[in-house]
């Protein structure tokens, strides 16, 4: 499959704080790639770096190429015309991402007006269509409501309508369902799966929730303390994880699903390093049960086996 997004050796730092280091990744055309990591692992930074939406004080090294465009080499005006057209963004907090003083319909319609130059009434009509497309009931009424008058799920759908208004080939979604209740969450997940199948777009889905991963992703990338430690097909990651961190992550998830009352839940010992603190060597070594002296010295080179990549000196499972 063709790669829509090519990330090469990406590193992001805020002044002295290094948040991402040496991330190379591709998002293929028509796939849903989940990026998993815990809070502070740099997963939001990765998403925003791919969208070229990091705050101005962030320094970015490496390359992000989307559909042949080298994003960080583009002049500002070219980048602007690609936003919304090439990349759709669904940010973390839908309420904060909606302008409180504009009706949601207007916030969808302006995408059509700015990019396609259509008249205001025509843009409004298309905005209502877009809202209907993301399964918002009574879209012509909802369009004239203000964000605070919508439920959490409706807000998230409205954001999706904005992000997908121009049918961009890439959707970047940063934990969009974290704040939602379970039922709304699964509705949104089902909706995204349907929209993805309809349009054939690629989705980069950021999450910390293995359940969401299992429900949604074709492929999974695991981020730990600013480093990419494992990438592979969803089933491989869930059933034959190679990195000790992924293994532990999957185990906690399985325990939660299957664990009976009274049995102790599995938990990874220790804590991740504070955000932006880059350890020499593998960042997981202080918590890793299999760590050897070599793990402390240098971050391991990636090992490949078909579709499956792991950055570990002592991979688990059938790798060993």
């Amino acid at each position: 499959m063709r790669a829509l997004v090519q990330v090469r050796d990406l590193a992001v730092a805020y002044r002295q704080t290094r948040v991402l280091e040496g991330v190379s990744l591709e998002v293929r055309a028509g796939e849903i790639l989940a990026v998993v990591g815990e809070t502070g692992s740099g997963k939001t930074t990765l998403a925003m770096a791919i969208a070229r939406l990091l705050p101005p004080e962030a320094t970015v090294r490496g390359q992000v190429e989307i559909n042949g465009y080298d994003l960080y080499a583009l002049p500002a005006h070219a980048m602007r015309s690609l936003r919304g057209r090439l990349i759709g963004l669904v940010p973390q907090d839908a309420m904060a991402a909606l302008n409180p003083v504009l009706p949601v319909g207007a916030q969808v319609a302006e995408v059509f007006r700015a990019h396609l130059g259509v008249s205001a009434p025509a843009a409004w009509a298309r905005a209502v269509e877009a809202l209907a497309w993301v399964q918002i009931p009574r879209p012509e009424r909802v369009a004239s409501l203000y964000p605070h008058q919508l439920s959490g799920g409706m807000r998230q759908r409205a954001i999706l309508a904005m992000a997908l208004a121009l049918h961009p080939p890439l959707l970047i979604a940063d934990e969009p369902t974290t704040a939602l209740d379970r039922i709304t969450q699964s509705e949104i997940l089902a909706l995204v799966r349907r929209l993805q199948a309809e349009t054939g777009m690629s989705v980069l889905w950021i999450t910390h929730d293995m359940e969401v991963v299992a429900a949604l992703a074709h492929r999974v990338a695991v981020l730990y303390a600013g480093r990419l430690v494992e990438v592979g097909p969803c089933r491989k990651i869930l059933e034959a994880s190679a990195h000790p961190y992924t293994e532990a992550l999957v185990r906690t998830y399985r325990d939660l699903l299957a664990g009976a009352w009274g049995e102790p839940l599995y938990a990874i010992e220790g804590y991740p390093p504070p955000a932006g603190h880059m350890l020499p060597g593998c960042p997981f070594h202080p918590r890793c049960p299999y760590a050897q002296p070599v793990c402390r010295e240098r971050f391991p080179d990636p090992l490949w086996r078909g579709e499956h990549m792991v950055a570990c000196y002592f991979p688990r499972g059938d790798w060993g």
């Binding site: 939406l53 602007r80 015309s81 936003r83 919304g84 904060a96 991402a97 909606l98 302008n99 409180p100």
Partner: protein, 306 residues
């Protein structure tokens, strides 16, 4: 909504009543006898008594207060001791000039403050210079700004008249004085609101949608700034309506402010009271209007009062 307006109106009335009572009582402590100001020559004790009785000044203070309150409830502000005219007519006669100055002053504040605030938020380079300018303007009392303008534009550059009047050319300097005095306040609030908005998630989302910067600024940021500007403009307008004493004095502008000053100097109690009352009412009323307007501009606030 109706309940909210009712509550606000009641609160406003209480404040106004307090203001009137306070102002009324204060006059009893003011040294000086209005009768002496009224009589053409030093009156005999008998004549003075008669005038006092005629004006009701021989009554105890609570009775005078009660009578005054009953009268203003009927819309009667009394008669000027000095000018022998109804106070309401005197004040109404001065109102157009004061309203014109208040309006022009608020307009000048917005026209000067808005671009300065926006420039400060958008350009870190201009920001240094403009905040220095703002600090200097903040350091000057209004009458010094007025006199400086008079000196520079009137005497040095000879662009504008230095003597009083009510024409449009005569309005420029007083309005500009109010405008310059208000600029740092407006610019500061506009800058703060704009910066808050520019760093917010919804602006990032707007950028992510590929909207042009000017569009984002005008359609997404300015609505965030507007309620604050409306609030300030409304508060200033109402404050100026009660008379801009200093500016009216410097530029010889015949408004309520100069009327109040004259009345105070001549111990013309009904006129003093009338200006206090009208000024206070303007402040309270317009603050209520501003609150409504702000609610209209911010959809979130509308719900809370349903």
């Amino acid at each position: 909504m109706a309940r909210f307006i009712g509550a606000r109106a009641f609160q406003g009335l209480v404040t106004l009543l307090g203001l009137v009572v306070l102002a009324f009582l204060v006059q009893f402590v003011i040294p000086g006898d209005p009768v002496r100001m009224l009589a053409p020559r030093t009156p005999t004790e008998e004549v003075a008594q008669r005038i006092r009785a005629q004006l009701g000044l021989d009554r105890p203070w609570w009775e005078q207060l009660g009578r005054y309150l009953t009268r203003i409830a009927q819309g009667d502000l009394g008669e000027s001791y000095v000018r022998r005219q109804p106070v309401a007519r005197l004040i109404l006669g001065r109102l157009p000039a004061t309203a014109a100055l208040a309006l022009a002053g608020v307009l000048a504040e917005i026209l000067l403050g808005f671009p300065v605030g926006v420039a400060m938020a958008l350009s870190p380079h201009l920001r240094r210079w403009l905040s220095g300018l703002n600090l200097v303007l903040l350091s000057l009392p209004t009458f010094v700004i007025g006199l400086s303008l008079l000196l520079a534009m009137g005497f040095w550059l000879r662009l504008l008249p230095t003597t009083g009047g009510t024409g449009l050319r005569e309005l420029i300097l007083p309005a500009l004085t109010l405008g310059l005095a208000g600029t740092p306040w407006y610019a500061g609030v506009i800058r703060d609101r704009l910066e808050e908005s520019l760093g917010s998630s919804y602006i990032r989302m707007a950028v992510a949608k590929g909207l042009p910067n000017r569009w984002i600024l005008v359609r997404h940021c300015f609505p965030h700034v507007l309620p604050a500007v409306v609030t300030m403009a409304g508060m200033d307008f109402s404050a100026y309506l009660s008379g801009v004493v200093v500016v009216e004095t410097i530029f010889g502008w015949p408004g309520i402010g100069s009327l109040a000053v004259q009345a105070m100097q001549t111990l013309d109690r009904p006129v003093v009271m009338g200006t206090v009352l009208v000024g206070g009412a303007a402040v309270i009323l317009l603050n209520g209007v501003v609150d409504m307007l702000r609610m209209f501009l911010d959809p979130r606030a509308r719900e809370g009062i349903g």
